[in-house]
Symmetry: C2
Subunit: 233 residues, 2 copies
């Protein structure tokens, strides 16, 4: 079980986990006031790991990503919120060389080499007929009727929520020690024909996954300052 | 500085932060091999905080969210990856009662009361003319020309990447101890006319922010099992 091995080898984080677990038990056994006064927040290195120091990777170390890690990844990202719990993302993890070759014709020149070299390439798609699962995913009302037969609403909802789930995948991967290389520059129709031949699932973006080679990072680009992207009323 | 106060009160997390910071320094002073053998991953309670135990909230405790927290939120979410660093999200944090009243006519009945009661409602929009900032955000090539005058590509890119940034906002908020209540069921045209009158920014979804009242949570809905949402090739 590589994930747990990794954590055991990382003694300090394991100790933190144990301490935080005890704290969680304490919170659970008290009333809500304690949580109100002391909301749990992530420690600075955790914020660095998932946001501040995380980078989009272009080169990959020679280290595989196993099935168990991919399942752990889904078992985190699945909890992220979607509209009426509609969960439209459909993800194909492409790993072996011969499967990667099926991606090659759809890749842009700039994304080709790094994608062929990545341990895994996740194809994040969304199911336009996601509403057929709503009686199970959102059982207390007839949410299926909000979307069935309403093509534009379904398409927008599938794209919006599948994209949210793609972002949860990126953050969850980083939380599990993986690095990401997301890309939307590819031939969507070719990917759909090759990987989603049923026609109701549409590709959204690709995300290389693995352990990034820091030596192959580009310089980091600036972000917009708060006042250019946000207003507080 | 409320964020830091909260962390100081939370002694165990502060201790973990210090231990992890020392570890980070150790990693920095070694070669890459050490990181390869022991990738840093989030501890279990941290995964609980941002994914597994986090819930969409409908009721809010009587506790304000201050400007500094909103700036800290943006200073995390801004680091999440977007296509060519295009960063199209434009966010309005709606806090005072009179500004909330401007939202009221656009809200669906089911979302009305909880949104009026939330300490902050974030309107997550995306700028269709995001490409005008690319010479600054992605300066090493003429990325503006990939989008300027190409309305469909621009619209799709703005929506996809603004949505990714909306998901980063949700996870970053949880990482800072906030609770979220995201919603896409509202009258987008009314919100655009009232809050984005320039016409180039389009509303995507709303997200209530505050400290959730656990007593007002709904029962959690199930998620799709791995094999229904994912394939491993």
């Amino acid at each position: 079980m590589p994930l747990y091995d990794a954590r055991l080898r990382c003694g300090i984080l394991a100790k933190c986990a144990a301490m935080q677990a005890r704290r969680a038990v304490n919170i659970g056994s008290n009333d809500h006031r304690r949580r109100i006064l002391t909301p749990m927040i992530l420690a600075e290195p955790a914020l660095d790991l998932i946001f501040r120091q995380a980078r989009t990777h272009n080169g990959w170390l020679d280290r595989a990503v196993d099935d168990e890690t991919l399942r752990a990844l889904y078992d985190l990202l699945k909890w992220g919120p979607t509209s009426a719990n509609c969960s439209p993302a459909r993800i194909i993890f492409v790993r072996p060389r011969q499967a990667k070759e099926r991606l090659r014709p759809a890749l842009s020149v700039g994304n080709l080499e790094k994608t062929m070299a990545a341990p895994v390439t996740a194809i994040i798609g969304h199911d336009l007929h996601f509403y057929d699962k709503l009686p199970r995913l959102f059982p207390h009302t007839d949410a299926r009727s909000w979307f069935a037969g309403k093509e534009e609403a379904s398409r927008t909802t599938a794209f919006r929520n599948g994209t949210l789930q793609g972002a949860y995948l990126i953050i969850a991967a980083r939380a599990l020690g993986l690095d990401c290389g997301p890309m939307s520059g590819f031939d969507h129709a070719k990917v759909d024909a090759e990987f989603f031949p049923g026609g109701t699932v549409k590709s959204n973006f690709l995300c290389n996954l693995g352990y990034g080679d820091p030596a192959k990072l580009f310089a980091r680009n600036p972000r917009l300052p708060f006042d250019e992207a946000c207003q507080v009323l």
